[in-house]
């Protein structure tokens, strides 16, 4: 499973300013994620896991340190460069799905493809493929209000994979779902990791979700306190 390290964080610190206070969220963090790895970030509220996710996804910049993804130092890219980079390399899955309510499932999934120079037919083929992967072919004309929570999340996953990104980041993907729906979503994520070799970084509070990941990182007060790699049939501590 382990491939080359395609996500490398070195000496990463992230601080936020609130009035005159500097609030450290991540402190001198080093992390390597291999290609095709399925990583879960866990920790108490305020531990910095979402901040770490944002840095890896190119949504934020570190205060100090470097964030290198597939050989590209995304922390020092301009806003337009990193926006373009995200469009090409990252798929997002949010806790509250964040679908556009005025667009159908098809149109929601198609959104990232509108940023590319693809023909209408080509976009259609890709969207239908993505919907098929998530098991929602036939529901493409439904609007979010006509779908269940689990189905909405599937559409969100389809949107995340339609551009065939290298990296999928998921922020509490099962946080708003019942047990059954959560299970389906987690199976889908596992499928994307195993069959499609997607690198997945997931923030979760859900122990069941964390179990599905192959590597589990615990953060506390901005520091990495535990790093467990799950080998087949056993657990080992990576750091």
């Amino acid at each position: 499973m382990a491939g080359t390290n395609s996500i490398v964080l070195r000496g990463v610190t992230k601080e936020y300013k609130r009035d005159s206070f500097r609030i450290p969220v991540l402190v001198d963090l080093d992390l390597s994620v291999a290609e095709g790895e399925y990583l879960a970030l866990m920790g108490p509220s305020g531990s910095g896991k979402t901040t770490l996710l944002n840095l890896i996804a190119g949504l934020d910049r570190p205060t100090t340190g470097s964030v290198v993804v597939q050989g590209q130092e995304i922390g020092s890219m301009s806003e337009s460069e990193v926006t373009r980079w995200r469009a090409d390399h990252v798929g997002f899955i949010f806790q509250l799905y964040n679908l556009i309510p005025v667009l159908s499932a098809f149109e929601n999934v198609e959104l990232p493809l509108l940023l590319k120079s693809l023909s209408k037919r080509s976009r259609r083929d890709r969207v239908m493929t993505a919907l098929k992967v998530v098991g929602l072919a036939g529901r493409e004309d439904h609007y979010p209000r006509q779908l269940s929570g689990g189905q909405e999340q599937r559409v969100a996953i389809a949107r995340a994979i339609v551009t065939d990104p290298y990296l999928i980041v998921a922020d509490e993907p099962t946080g708003d779902l019942d047990r059954n729906s959560a299970g389906e979503i987690l199976e889908l994520l596992e499928l994307l990791n195993v069959e499609f070799q997607k690198t997945i970084v997931m923030v979760t509070h859900d122990p069941l979700a964390a179990q599905r990941a192959r590597r589990l990182l615990h953060l506390d007060k901005g520091k990495l306190v535990d790093d467990v790699v799950k080998e087949a049939g056993s657990m080992s501590v990576a750091s």
Binding site: L59, D60, T83, D88, F92, P101, L103, L114, L115
Partner: protein, 387 residues
């Protein structure tokens, strides 16, 4: 356009808000079209009238001054003149209605030569010329008041101390930008009636309309006429028909300027209304914008999407208000409700298109700030925000 679906869906996402914004823009533009068209039509008619090479001769003091009727003959004999006619305003009542329509005493033999664009069937023109108590009325006047050939047309005293007992002998027609609600009668009939009542108001041509053979002659003829009567009891002021038409608007003072200021105030109000509506919409969509930016929509694209939405909503209001009013008044003759003060009314295409463009500009300006703020939205803060 790839993003058109998204833009249009957003534009109608809150139907009540969108409809109210569109209706505000449409209604405001509709009213502005009426106001501005009054001047635009006047300018258009004034400019287009130049082809007829006509001069209007007034007393230098204006309408209140006299013009001896003999000057009609004198002017018609000048080189380069095709024909001349007096144009004496009567202003009488019709069925006790004050100022019902324009009424002029004219030279029946020459008037329709001077006003060459008006058409009268030959037999009716003959009847008009041959009968001293004849009236020639415009087609719109005949249609609206259901007056037929041969009907009596009594005009009661008001401005003048006499009644006129006319009979309709002709119904004239003309192009859309001509007054088709006038009542024309023999000037000599009015003059004879005034003499019968020993009135001293007779002998006054009021205004003299002159048609010249060519446009080149017009400025020279104006100077010649005014020079000829400069040192008389009733000096003249001669001007082209274009200048004469504009003269009426000038009499209203700086109404054009006032309308311009009203228009600007109205435009500013629409900008603020549109900006407020869009700002409310964008506040509700903060998370959505953050998601778009997260998946790769850059600042310029977000700016474009929001601006396009603002312009479409405003443009729709402009289409209904500006172009809609143009089409409406092409079919509904507003001038019929103007008691003769407005011989015709339409909204020129240029005015309507300018109105539409103004609405798009209003949409653009009103959308600038909400669009800019949306484009600058931090993805992380936007995703955190609970709306």
């Amino acid at each position: 356009m790839k993003f058109l679906t998204y833009i249009l869906r957003n534009a109608r996402r809150n139907p009540v808000r969108s409809v109210l914004t569109i209706a505000t823009t449409a209604l405001t533009l509709f009213l502005m079209m009426i106001l501005t068209s009054f001047f635009a039509v006047n300018d258009e008619v004034a400019t287009s009238s130049g082809v007829h090479n006509r001069i209007f001769v007034l007393n230098s003091q204006g309408f209140a001054g006299r013009l001896p009727i003999v000057r009609v003959r004198e002017i018609s004999e000048l080189p380069g003149v095709v024909a001349a006619s007096p144009l004496s305003w009567f202003g009488g009542k019709y069925n006790e209605e004050k100022m019902p329509f324009a009424q002029f005493g004219v030279d029946a033999d020459t008037y329709f030569t001077v006003e060459e664009e008006l058409t009268v069937p030959a037999d009716q023109l003959k009847a008009f010329k041959e009968n001293k108590d004849a009236a020639a009325i415009g087609r719109k006047l005949a249609d609206e008041r259901k007056i037929k050939l041969g009907d009596p047309l009594p005009l009661g005293r008001d401005l003048y101390p006499v009644d006129l007992k006319l009979t309709v002998r002709a119904i004239y027609d003309g192009p859309a930008n001509s007054d088709l609600r006038m009542c024309l009668f023999h000037w000599s009939y009015l003059d004879d009636t005034l003499k019968q009542y020993s009135s001293t108001a007779g002998g006054n041509a009021g205004c003299i309309m002159v048609r010249c053979k060519s446009g080149d002659r017009v400025p020279t003829l104006c100077r010649e006429i005014d020079t000829a009567y400069l040192n008389t009891d009733n000096p003249t002021r001669s001007q082209t028909e274009e200048a004469f038409t504009k003269f009426f608007v000038e009499m209203l003072g700086d109404l054009k300027g006032m309308v311009r200021w009203i228009g600007m105030a109205v435009g500013l109000s629409l900008i603020l209304v549109g900006a407020n509506a869009l700002a409310m919409a964008m506040r509700e969509r903060t998370t959505e914008v953050a998601v778009l930016k997260a998946i790769g929509f850059n600042r310029q694209l977000v700016l474009f999407l929001v601006l396009a939405e603002a312009m479409i909503v405003a443009g729709l209001g402009g289409l209904i208000g500006a172009i809609g009013s143009k089409l409406l008044f092409d079919y509904v003759d507003l001038s019929q409700f103007a008691a003769g003060l407005l011989p015709f009314f339409y909204i020129p295409w240029l005015t309507a298109v300018v109105g539409l463009v103004a609405s798009l500009l209003i949409g653009f300006v009103s959308g600038i700030v909400p669009a800019y703020m949306a484009s600058r939205l931090s993805v992380i803060n936007g995703l955190r925000k609970v709306v």
